[in-house]
């Protein structure tokens, strides 16, 4: 396996930067590990993150570094494979990384996090979405700047129970991975809401079926006060239209698969009032605009996946070290939880589990033919 050119260049750039600047800085550099796929099938998930880290670090070092020390990147390739990620983690530990940006893939992160935890190293991932990573409590050293897979279900259920104040909820899905997974999380969250809500119906529907009249009658029969649907817009528009025609006027809450122009176009007047969760729009954030411009200047072209998340993660980590006043991981952790930091994803800090507050999804509602954010 050959080392990708970009990684070599990145390493050279870092060496050049640190060599040039080390004269001015006091003390040894802060070593930031960057672990993710740099080669292999999934390299396109990892390279944007290492580029983001590099660009942030270049900027920070130019301004005098963190705590008056230069930041040095240790880029390691885990190929997104758990068995290799364990070695990568071992290498970063023996290279005495102070903190790690990574890993990119959830499976690789899971394999590596125990090693970092035992070595007292904080890891922050821009992309690992597996809910367990933060929720299991096994990895108190883990943080992330991306919403976990269950975030949409969580926000939908919270919206139904707390904002709409409904109790009886029908949860439907389209029997496919995305919709079913979401519906199962929604069911779990409703059931674990401490009696504030109950799932009165949980059912899969057949995509492409001629009509959904039986399911719609069943929704009425169940006495549901709201419907949460996991799936995509074609079935959602059929369901909503059918419900409204049969005079079932309960709120219809769905997901990113429904927060789509086509849904409104097809469902027409029936789309009015439908709720859907969708990613927060950060594209107009000045820091995001700046980050993308920096990528264009350095590499030409637009950045790839998780670039802004990685940018935010690097900023959050360096900010926490600065605020903590040391590279002690307990102090960094405290700063991550308590200190807000301005990032391309907005102003964030981390909740008790390690998920970034304010990152991820928001609720939208169809109002006069367009989705508008629900206040």
């Amino acid at each position: 396996m050959s080392t990708p050119v970009s990684a070599v260049l990145a390493a050279l750039a870092v060496v050049a930067l640190t060599a040039g600047a080390s004269v001015a800085s006091a003390g040894e550099p802060i070593r930031l590990g960057v672990a993710g796929p740099q080669s292999g099938d999934l390299a396109s998930y990892g390279i944007p993150s290492s580029r983001a880290a590099e660009l942030v670090v270049r900027e920070v070092n130019a301004k005098g570094g963190v705590l008056g020390r230069q930041v040095k990147l240790l880029v390691e390739d885990d190929v997104c494979k758990p068995e290799i990620a364990a070695n990568t983690a071992g290498k970063l530990v023996s290279d005495k990384a102070h903190a790690v940006l990574g890993h990119i893939c959830s499976g690789a992160a899971k394999a590596a996090l125990g090693i970092y935890r035992d070595a007292g190293i904080i890891a922050i991932s821009p992309s690992a979405t597996n809910p367990e990573l933060t929720q299991s409590g096994q990895y108190p050293n883990f943080y992330r700047t991306i919403a976990p897979d269950d975030a949409q279900a969580r926000i939908e259920v919270a919206f139904a129970l707390d904002t709409l104040k409904v109790k009886k909820i029908a949860v439907l899905h389209d029997k496919q991975d995305y919709g079913r997974g979401l519906a199962e999380f929604a069911k779990k969250f409703v059931e674990s809401s401490g009696g504030r809500g109950a799932v009165v119906m949980f059912e899969g529907i057949t995509p492409g079926a001629v009509d959904y009249s039986a399911v719609i009658q069943k929704i009425r029969q169940s006495g549901a006060e709201a419907v949460i649907y996991g799936g995509y817009h074609p079935e959602a528009s059929k369901l909503v239209a059918g419900m409204r025609k049969k005079k079932i006027d309960v709120p219809f809450i769905s997901d990113d698969g429904v927060k789509d122009e086509t849904f409104i176009k097809v469902a027409g007047a029936f789309a009015e009032g439908v709720y859907a969760s969708g990613p927060r729009d950060t594209s107009t954030n000045p820091l995001a605009v700046k980050a993308v411009a920096a990528h264009r200047a350095a590499y030409g072209g637009d950045p790839g996946a998780f670039y802004l998340n990685a940018w935010a993660a690097t900023l959050a980590l360096l900010n926490a070290i600065e605020k903590a006043g040391s590279t002690d991981s307990a102090a960094i952790a405290k700063a991550l939880h308590t200190e807000f930091v301005e990032t391309p994803l907005g102003r964030i800090r981390f909740d008790a589990r390690g998920d970034a507050e304010g990152v991820g999804f928001a609720m939208y509602q169809v109002h006069k033919g367009v989705y508008v954010a629900v206040k």
Binding site: G204, T206, A214, K218, A241, V266
Partner: protein, 300 residues
Amino acid sequence: MDYFLELFVGGLTRGSIYALIALGYTMVYGILGLINFAHGEIYMIGAFTGLIAATLLSWTGLPPLAVLLLAAVAAAAWAAAWGLAVERIAYRPLRAAPRLAPLISAIGASILLQNFVLIAQTSDFVSFPALVPEIPWLAPYAAVISSAEVVILAVTATAMLGLTLFVRGTRLGRAMRAVAQDRTMALLCGVDVDRVIGATFAVGSALAALGGVLIGSHVGQINFAIGFLAGIKAFTAAVLGGIGSIPGAVLGGFILGWTESFAAGYVSSAYEDAFAFILLVAILIVRPSGILGRSTAGRA
């Protein structure tokens, strides 16, 4: 009881659509012994034609019911033309070929038509206007039966009655029955077999198009792929009722519609397809040629 009635009506509506499509399968099979796999696509083309016609007609300011009627006629006529074309291009040259050849040709025609609409129209779902106006005196019962459902049932019943009278009472209908019973003998007696077969395709296609327009108006959306699942279900209905038998196709359609509706309503809609096909297997074990099917007689 209300719940039962609601599911019953839902099943009846769905069954009507299945029946309208199944008639085309069963008539063609009765006459040619061929399964016209492109039939589901004809249903889809009918729905698209209905949408285009309805959109154009709605600019003229005609009342909705007139728009529906004219759109349905346009869709039926255009789909009939497509049915004739498919027969002429994909099946007639292979009439003397081994049975597998027209089967492959049918699948080819199906793929061709689906992709034609995909390219000529769009891959997205498109909105289908509700052409059936709200009937005021039905408003209190809207939860059980909507006016769209009433129209679907009425149109289906009329179409079936018309088809029965056509097959029983007209010269062409008699010729169809003759060709179904014995094509060579009919030919020897002076029946224009090609014309009869063409007419069968045209009538079957027109009925499917009617189904397409009705369901499009009822559920409010169509796309290029709707013919696949509907076609499979209607084919199942035709086999269930006894393929080749006209009353069988209608009965099969309703039984399938009710099975799915009740299975979804009382068990789980996740398993509605499973129940539909369990029923099919069970009936075919007891009656291998379907409920009203007979191995030779009683076709068309």
